[in-house]
């Protein structure tokens, strides 16, 4: 009986603790409490994930009791608030999110990769040292401030002169601001990926008589490709989930349009609109935000997993 108990205890500890650490066997072990605390804090992150999934599933369950998933996913009209023609087709919101995502990626990806190449191949390390904290500032600017900047500066001062018929709320200025917001992330992750290529490979390329551009474009970028692509995917996932910039600058009109000069609404923008309003808790309109939230969660989760898989494959190359 006590044998069994011992055995159980042993397998329990080896599940949570590296067997090489002998502290558990120490005769007068006064640190037992520490072990429990460490495990408990670590479980917080697992519980967080479980909590998110449970909340999203249970609350959107109320929604899907009344609205068919198929109608939700394929409907092209989104009007969950105003009677009498309520309609729950999420595509306009998805399309709005896609516009912002594509628009910001078009800006952030080339600029971010180019900047990372400049930092690793062209600039002095002194310059890179100065750039790093500046990029951290750029990454730290609150998204409400970016949204404000898009609405009151980018649209009237930059875009209006170029596109006279641009509207006050529009997808373009929000895309630009989101692009700027994810730029530091693209730069620093691509830079990490480029720096992870062994120095000997870079030296080999220079010793062949390559120019810096040839070293970067033909050797470094291809060698770091998986890491770079995974950084792009993470940045795209961040753009999909960005909320305040679009809530402030992109407008609140869920519509299927291809014009970046018009107002749109994204999935996140819709969620903010509802939670700012006076929608009664428990109503169908209230549960829509969880259905949209669930969709948002699944989209970003799958991108994160893809990026993780790509990165995992990439690590194997240099081992």
């Amino acid at each position: 009986m006590s044998d069994l108990k011992n055995k159980n205890k042993k397998s329990w500890t080896s599940l949570f603790f590296d067997p090489k650490i002998r502290y558990m066997n120490s005769k007068n072990n006064k640190n037992g409490l520490v072990n429990y605390i460490l495990i408990l804090t670590t479980l917080v992150s697992l519980i967080t994930t479980i909590g998110i999934i449970v909340i999203l599933l249970t609350d959107s369950f109320h929604f899907f009791k009344e609205i068919q998933i198929f109608d939700f996913l394929t409907g092209t009209n989104w009007n969950p608030l105003i009677e009498p023609n309520k309609s729950y087709g999420v595509l306009p919101l998805v399309a709005g999110t896609m516009m912002i995502t594509v628009g910001s990626a078009v800006i952030a990806i080339p600029v971010g990769l180019g900047s990372a190449i400049y930092l690793t191949e062209y600039s002095s390390s002194r310059f890179s040292k100065i750039i790093k904290p500046i990029m951290e500032i750029l990454a730290g600017v609150p998204t409400v401030v970016y949204g404000y900047f898009a609405l009151t500066f980018i649209t009237p001062n930059i875009l209006k002169p170029i596109f006279p018929n641009i509207q006050t709320f529009n997808a373009l200025s929000a895309s630009i601001a989101v692009g700027i917001m994810i730029l530091p992330m693209v730069i620093s992750l691509s830079e990490d990926a480029l720096n992870a290529v062994p120095e000997s490979i870079r030296q080999g390329a220079y010793a062949m008589g390559s120019t810096r551009f040839e070293v970067a474009s033909r050797v470094m970028v291809p060698s770091a490709l998986s890491g770079i692509i995974s950084s792009f995917i993470l940045a795209i996932s961040r753009a999909i989930g960005e909320t305040m910039i679009v809530a402030i600058a992109a407008g609140m009109r869920p519509q299927l349009t291809s014009s970046f000069l018009k107002p749109i609404q994204t999935m996140t923008g819709f969620i903010v609109q509802i939670s700012m309003g006076d929608t009664p808790v428990g109503s169908l309109s209230y549960y829509t935000i969880f259905a949209v939230g669930l969709l948002l969660f699944l989209m970003t989760l799958s991108l994160n997993i893809i990026s993780h898989l790509i990165l995992k494959k990439y690590r194997e190359v240099y081992q």
């Binding site: 390390s125 062994p198 000997s200 030296q203 010793a207 062949m208 008589g209 390559s210 050797v219």
Partner: protein, 253 residues
């Protein structure tokens, strides 16, 4: 006399920031000969080798005084084209460093960046280079597989083929066999013997037997200085400096 020397090194001092790694090095390197550089670890052999194709430019805070002439022209003058210099002076590193591309693409890399686009021409160059590097027979059926799938010795010969493919005049080798087993080392040494008909070779080595086996000339470095430079036979049989003798007889280092 001077057109026999492919490289003339004149009073070279070299600094990493404040640290002086080379002191007043002068030596002439002869065409179509194998020149070996020996000396204890940290004495500046690699540093010296890397001054010849200006690879040290890539390290911040380095500085060179003195001069090196390649084919009678200074390689440290203002307007020198470093990229072209590195095309004419190839380099093989201590650790094999193939690019993570196919075997074919590795060898074709140099010719491609230097402007050869014709497929047939490229293929010719790749095959010729692989043959010169004595690797062709081992890889001819898998030119498209990844270079990283080769063994260490094969990878090093691939790197040699890659360097040969741009048709350099000089080949710098920094302990090319130090990461290899004896069989692979013997292959590389045989190869060096073949290559010297076409190229001038400067090789850094830790192994005195290797220097004695493959080289015509040998230079002995000690703490950033070139202590003695002479015909290999002379260095190993009858060195004129006491320090050289101590080193080759294994009394220190």
């Amino acid at each position: 006399m001077s057109n026999q020397n492919v490289l003339e090194v004149k009073n070279v001092d070299f600094f990493y920031d404040d640290f002086q790694a080379l002191e007043n090095i002068s030596m002439n390197i002869e065409k179509n000969k194998v020149t070996a550089l020996i000396g204890p670890s940290g004495c500046g052999k690699s540093t010296f080798l890397r001054t010849i194709n200006r690879m040290n430019d890539l390290i911040e805070g380095t500085r060179l005084e003195g001069n090196i002439l390649f084919d009678g022209e200074s390689i440290y003058q203002e307007n020198i084209d470093v990229v072209n210099l590195r095309k004419r002076i190839g380099m093989v590193f201590q650790q094999p460093n193939p690019f993570p591309k196919s075997i074919f693409e590795n060898v074709a890399y140099g010719p491609k960046i230097h402007g050869i686009t014709d497929k047939i021409k490229l293929e010719e160059i790749v095959i010729e280079s692989l043959k010169k590097a004595a690797l062709f027979d081992e890889v001819k059926n898998r030119l498209d597989s990844s270079a990283l799938s080769l063994s260490g010795g094969q990878q090093q010969r691939l790197c040699i083929a890659r360097a040969l493919a741009v048709k350099p005049e000089v080949l710098l080798m920094d302990e090319p066999a130090s990461a290899l087993d004896p069989v692979a080392t013997a292959k590389i040494e045989d190869l060096i013997g073949e290559l010297k008909n076409e190229y001038s070779i400067v090789i850094v080595t830790h192994s005195m037997q290797q220097a004695a086996r493959v080289s015509d000339m040998t230079g002995f470095f000690l703490m950033g200085e070139l202590v003695e430079y002479d015909k290999t036979d002379k260095i190993f049989e009858n060195p004129s400096d006491q320090r050289t003798e101590d080193y080759i007889t294994g009394r220190f280092g």
